[in-house]
C-alpha cells in the first residue's frame, strides 16, 4: 500500500496563553523566544496510523509531504525518525501567501507528482488554523472521497479500508474503496517516540525541495480566495473568588454553600 501523510509544522500549541502574542499589523503570531515549532499533533496521529498499517500490510511505503519554509524540515525529520520512508518539502517564495485552497492545490500537485497514493492521511485539523479543511480540499482536487474525523482505520480486503468516523454521540463505521483521503483524530493513534536508530537515519536523510516549477503550478493556482482581514487576542478578565478555609475539606463545604448562595445549585 502506498501512503502519503501530509505534515504541517505549527507553533507549539502548549504555549501558555500569557506568552501568546500577535502582531496585529502583520496579522501574524509572534513566536515566543526559545519555543520551537512542532509537528502538528493530529498529523503525528495520522503518521502513527500509517505506521500501524505498514506493520499490518506488507510492502507499504510512507511518504511525507509538507508545505512550509526550510524550518519545516524539522517536522519532516521527526516523521522520518518515527518510521516514514521518505519526505518531500514543498517550499517556494510563491507559497508564502497560501490560503487553505492554495495549500490544497500545492499538496494535490505534489501528490500527483508522486504518482498518487492508495491513502492520503492528514490530521483532522492543524492546531494553528484550527480549520480542518485543507485535506478536504486535496480530496476535492484529486476527485477522491474525503472523510474526517477518523478515530480508527484498518485494512478491509483488497483495495479497501474500514474506518470509524466520529459523529454526534458516537461513530459511524464506513467501508471505503481506495484511494481516499482521511483526516485522522487523536483517540487511538498515540504517536510513538522515534527510536534512536530512526533519529540517526532521519539526520542523514536527503529531503528534496519542490517549488512551483517542479509542480507545474501557475500563479492562478495559488491565487488566494480567502483573506485574513484581522488577527487579534481577545482579553479575558480574571475575577475568580478563591475559597479560603482552614482545611481543604472545609473549603469544599464552603464552596457548596457559596454555590447555593449564588443559586447555582
Amino acid at each position: 500500500m502506498r501512503i502519503i501523510v501530509t505534515i504541517k509544522q505549527v507553533p507549539d500549541p502548549d504555549i501558555p496563553p500569557g506568552h501568546f502574542k500577535v502582531d496585529e499589523a502583520a496579522r501574524k503570531v509572534v513566536p515566543p523566544p526559545g519555543v520551537a515549532p512542532v509537528l502538528n499533533g493530529y498529523d503525528a496521529n495520522a503518521l502513527e496510523a500509517a505506521l500501524r498499517l505498514k506493520e499490518q500490510v506488507a510492502g507499504t511505503t510512507i511518504t511525507l509531504v509538507s508545505l512550509g519554509a526550510a524550518q519545516a524540515r524539522d517536522a519532516l525529520k521527526r516523521g522520518l525518525a518515527m518510521g516514514a520512508d521518505k519526505a518531500v518539502l514543498l517550499d517556494d517564495p510563491a507559497f508564502a501567501q497560501c490560503d487553505s485552497a492554495a495549500t490544497a492545490a500545492v499538496l494535490a500537485a505534489a501528490i500527483r507528482k508522486l504518482e498518487g497514493a492508495d491513502l492520503v492521511l492528514s490530521g483532522r485539523q492543524a492546531s494553528d488554523t484550527d480549520a480542518g479543511q485543507v485535506h478536504l480540499g486535496v480530496a476535492s482536487l484529486l476527485g477522491l472521497p474525503g472523510l474526517t474525523p477518523i478515530q480508527r482505520l484498518s485494512p478491509a480486503g483488497d483495495g479497501a479500508v474500514r474506518v470509524e468516523r466520529l459523529v454526534e454521540d458516537g461513530h459511524q463505521v464506513l467501508e471505503v474503496r481506495l484511494p481516499a483521503v482521511l483526516g485522522i483524530s487523536s483517540e487511538v493513534y498515540e504517536p510513538r517516540y522515534p527510536p534512536l536508530k530512526g533519529i540517526m537515519l532521519a539526520g542523514r536523510a536527503q529531503i528534496p525541495v519542490w517549488g512551483t516549477a517542479d509542480l507545474g503550478l501557475t500563479p492562478q493556482h495559488l491565487q488566494p480566495r480567502r483573506l485574513l482581514r484581522r488577527l487579534y487576542v481577545e482579553q479575558r478578565e480574571a475575577q475568580v473568588e478563591l475559597i479560603a478555609a482552614d482545611s481543604p475539606a472545609e473549603a469544599g463545604e464552603q464552596l457548596a454553600l457559596k454555590l447555593r448562595e449564588a443559586k447555582l445549585i
Binding site: 478536504l136 482536487l141 454526534e168 480567502r226 488577527l231 481543604p248 473549603a251 464552596l255
Partner: protein, 331 residues
Amino acid sequence: MAHTNAVFVVAEAQNGGLATISAELLGAGRAIANALGGPLVAALVGHNVASLAAQLGELGADRVLVADDPLLADYQVESYAPLIGQSVRSLAPAAVLLGQTFTGRELGPRLAFDLETAVATDCVRLSVEGDRVVMAKPVYGGNAVAEYVVQTSPQVATLRARAFEPAAPQAGRRGEVEQLPVQLDPAALRARVVETVRAASTGGPNLKEARVIVAGGRGLGGPENWRHVEELAQALGAAVGATRAVTDAGWVPASLQVGLTGVTVSPDLYLTIGISGAVQHLAGITGAKNVVAINRDPEANIFKVARFGVVGDWKQVLPAFTRKVQELRGR
C-alpha cells in the same frame, strides 16, 4: 456566473426532528439575508424529513428545498455533497451556511472546494460589509481570533454550535417548499456506511443541552477515580464531561470530550475537577455562565475563567464538597 444575494442554509435533522443547529443557522442566516437584502433558503437532506420542512418555514426560511430518500438516511459526504452542490450551483447564493457539526465540518469544506470557492470553519460571529460576510473564528486553539473574508462566491461558513442566537419559530409562517430530485447510484459511491455506533448512554442528562456539567481532567489521576466525578454529577443532576487528556487515555468515551475538537457546551454551571484550563478546552465552554474550579495549582489557567475556585487536592476537597451538595439538595 452571476451570484444572487440569497443566503443558503444547510439544515440538519436528528432523531426525527430538526437538530438544534438548524434554528441557529436560520437565526444567523436571517441576519445575513436581511443585511444583503436577499431571500433565505434552507435545504434539508435525509430520509423521512419532508415533514420537517414546515418547521423550517416557521423558523424564517423563505424557500425550503427537501431531498428525501431512503438512500439518504445516513449522512455520507459522497451522496450529500453533489446533491447540495447542485442546488447551490443553480441558485448561486451569496453565502452558504452550515453547522460545525460532524456533518458540516466534513460537508462544508467539501462543498466549498467542489464549487471552487472558499470556507471559514467554526465561525463564532458573522457580520456583513457591503456584499461580503466577515467571518470571525477562534484560531491557535482559542488563543486568538481571525477575521476572514471569502473573496469568491458563494462565501461558505460553518457555524459553531451554540454561538448564534436561534431563530424563534413564528407559528403560521410559511416557506415555499420544493422537492429536490434525487438521482443516486449507490454502486458509484466509494464509501458505504456499515453501521452507526452510539456511545453508551451515561444515564444522566445530555451533555450538549445540560444546565449543569461536572467535568473531570487528567488531575483525577486515573480511571479508577472517575467515579468521584460521576458521584458529584449524580448529586447535582448534572451531565458529565471530560478533557481530551481523559478521553484520549480511554477513561471515558470520546463523546464526552468538551472543547475545540469535542462538544461545545453552554451550561449555567460548569464545574471542573483537575482540569488545567488549556485554551483548547476553554474553546468549548465560552458559553458557560459560571465556571468553578477545583485544582491544586494556583497558577492553573482555569482560574482565569472561573467565578469560584478552590486551590487544593481534589482528594481532600471533593468528598466534603459532594457530601455538602447532597445535603443541600436533600439526597
